[in-house]
Symmetry: C2
Subunit: 475 residues, 2 copies
């Protein structure tokens, strides 16, 4: 709640104290969670011999895994990390506003030091990055991720060129836009709420607020909070952020609330989490069918959209072109943004790249990947929130989410051939119920890759994702 | 923050878990705050012999006072009280919405039991109510409050009749209203923000949100949060709630932040707190001068107010007539609402009045005091938030606040004869700086009555309040 509030409501001058609150509470929670008596409880429970995939077995396995990670850290390190990540986040907000990397640089340096210290406490077999990645995607390894991303980079760069060529030949490059139109935030809120509710998000157990950077967080078994940001010139910006966060929210609301905080009631990995958000955002929301269904309602709420049509809106949200900002990137170029961040954060962590050289390194590599010059750090290396809070190792889970979401969508269509027709008619319950059964309710019963194998019948790879992109953008 | 969030943001279904969170955190905080080592620290610090009104002396005296109160309670009782007051609050919200006292009654009964248990742990010389009153207004005694309120009830009933007679003869009874007008919440937010900032509220260290019941709470040394509620038919409702809460907020922002959480940086009593809110709301805001100054801006933001004028708006907010709802009561009848609540909660606590008889007792006594029939419990005994959270002993501080605010305003005018002319021109800094010096910065250095004596040069009584009311409403 302290973190959610920091993003949504905190007065500017209250930041210093908030960092201290977060540090103190993190330290207390860490001391309680790693006390000797907790170890005793774990040993006693383990001696009872629960079957490994029973609720008790899963809860115990996850509690042990978390305990073993936490107990390797000192409470001082946990406190200091909480403090500096709160301070770093606030410095980054200012740095981004003022387009001045030097405001954020010292905090980035300190967060890297603390992250190295954490990684060394946890230990690793391959490289240091593994220890951090483990916190977001248990079981994943840096070397595999690096290979996957390198392969994808090649495939998606080629695809991007093909799509660009095709776009020039078709209407795809000329989306709807009306520089005069204004879409008041209040109307956007109504529309977003209605679409989110139609997808299945339960507003009696959740809400949507505004924040600089859209996110989803869970504050209790029936308290899931999404955020978005509003642009009164283009209502699709807030909408697609909501559709994305609703995907996360549906996963959280589909977990078994009676095991909140325990393995059986917890999401298995950030990659699987991201598969849910990308699925609802892109496979469901970024389609002609979506706009055919929602067009009448959009027109009621947004008189400024009168010059559009379902087809024009679909073209608008399906446009493909290299862009500076990750969260506004199209599906075809999205993973190239991840490639960039993964390479840079791995180099920062290893000390191969110095903090002060980050902006130049970002801009150079960005131009190689996208053929675009980065005009300033605010739209370059300062654009994302993750590093500001010390979230090194997080970015690869976005690409895993893309791969998983393509696998899941293909499997769901195969099992339920009428699925896509239903979605185009606004029937979202069928997809949700399939995901509830295959992904949400199992919680952390299985590892992420085993969960995916059970849901799709195959070992996850990049092929479904590439096939999906080719079909959608070149088909 | 958990409590603030419960009032402003909490999804409906999240209430049960929130009650549990509040209970657990209250219990932990209680256990830490009453640990033997804390007693040791206090003894050690006391042995150092700080002078009693030095910062250290005050911090120590207050820490000791709080410790002695807390250590008399068991952590179980503290936890249970936090749990039931959260549940009770949620039940009360539903009871009020559905106008059904029976939904709330069991929680009220349980909160009374727990409050008696607390009072008995704390001990008292006079009566049980003393032990609760001490938590809100240290040093005040029930017998004195009872006498004060009984005297006031007589005086203010008589005054109310006189004003009513006079009103019938003048325009005062016919305030401005326009049943067709609509004042959008967004415009109200802008106006409230501008007036609050002009009064001196620092928005870099605070904010205003919406809640069912306006309040002010402080989450950190530079984090003061106000709330209000909006009525699109009458923009003065949200405005005067804001002016009231701004008074509380200015007090909190005027405390010495470097001693946050300690005596020297803490408000001395709720009576003194309320003196600040009533002062800014009524002595500053509920005047013709206020509307002469703010009329041009109000007209810009509210085209619907075009039919009004500064005089008509002033009459609208100065109208005097018995009303069902305390927070909408005029200044002349306000304390009669407190008389009613004080009598009833004292009887409830003593067990002289049974919970199930509360609605009938309320309605009977209300008719005696105001000559009005209460149509339903939602506008009767369910209207206030205080009992829903177990806040027995809180209400008398409202009347103390009225008395104190009249004393302070009279003293400030005497010391600074140009004060009122300045206020009418929108110069609020002079009053704020006087209050900062006399009331805010001292924190809890002096007892409430000593602080008042130092600020005004006399022992507080009801005479300034009655004189103020006569001057304003009969003058």
């Amino acid at each position: 709640l302290l973190s959610w509030d920091q993003e949504t409501n905190l007065p500017e001058a209250a930041g210093e104290y908030r960092a201290e609150q977060l540090a103190q509470l993190s330290g207390w929670a860490h001391r309680r969670g790693t006390a000797d008596e907790v170890r005793g409880w774990l040993e006693e429970a383990e001696a009872a011999g629960f079957s490994p995939h029973s609720v008790e077995g899963v809860n115990l396995r996850e509690a042990r895994r978390v305990f073993e990670r936490e107990v390797r850290l000192s409470s001082r390190l946990v406190e200091e990390f909480a403090r500096v990540s709160s301070q770093g986040h606030q410095a980054w907000v200012r740095a981004r506003q003022q387009n001045d990397f030097s405001i954020f640089a010292p905090f980035l340096g300190r967060l890297l030091e603390l992250s190295r210290e954490k990684a060394d406490c946890w230990g690793y077999e391959g490289e240091r990055y593994d220890a951090l990645l483990e916190g977001y995607e248990p079981g994943a390894r840096t070397a595999e991720v690096a290979k996957l991303l390198a392969d994808l980079a090649g495939e998606q760069s080629a695809l991007l060129k093909e799509v660009a060529t095709k776009s020039r030949e078709t209407e795809l490059a000329r989306p709807w836009s009306d520089p005069e139109a204004c879409f008041p935030q209040a109307a956007q809120e109504v529309f977003n709420h209605e679409v989110a509710a139609a997808f299945g998000f339960d507003f009696s157990a959740g809400r949507i607020d505004a924040s600089a950077h859209p996110f989803c967080t869970t504050l209790g078994p029936r308290d899931v909070r999404l955020t978005t940001r509003y642009d009164e010139r283009d209502f699709t910006n807030s909408l697609y952020s909501v559709l994305h966060e609703v995907g996360h929210g549906l996963y959280e609301q589909g977990l078994m609330g009676e095991y909140f905080g325990l393995g059986a009631g917890q999401a298995v990995s950030l990659g699987v989490h991201e598969s849910q958000s990308r699925l609802w955002e892109n496979k469901v929301g970024r389609t002609v069918g979506f706009w055919e269904h929602w067009w009448p309602r959009a027109l009621e709420l947004f008189p400024g959209a009168a010059g559009a049509s379902p087809e024009k809106l679909a073209r608008h949200v399906l446009r493909v072109r290299p862009s500076l900002i990750r969260v506004e990137a199209d599906e075809v170029s999205y993973d190239l943004h991840i490639v960039l961040r993964f390479e840079l954060e791995r180099a920062l962590l290893d000390g191969v790249l110095a903090v002060e050289d980050l902006p130049a390194a970002w801009n150079r590599r960005f131009e190689e990947l996208f053929g675009l010059r980065v005009p300033d750090d605010a739209s370059g290396c300062l654009q994302d929130i993750h590093w500001s809070m010390g979230g090194f190792g997080y970015f690869p889970t976005y690409t895993l989410g893309n791969l998983y979401s393509a696998e899941l969508f293909a499997a769901a269509r195969l099992e339920r051939p009428e699925l896509e027709d239903g979605l185009a008619k606004g029937n979202y319950a069928q997809l949700l119920s399939w995901l509830r059964g295959k992904i949400h309710r199992p919680g952390s019963t299985w590892t992420a890759s085993e969960l995916m194998r059970r849901a799709t019948g195959r070992v996850p790879s990049a092929s479904a994702h590439l096939e999906y992109l080719r079909g959608k953008y070149l088909g």
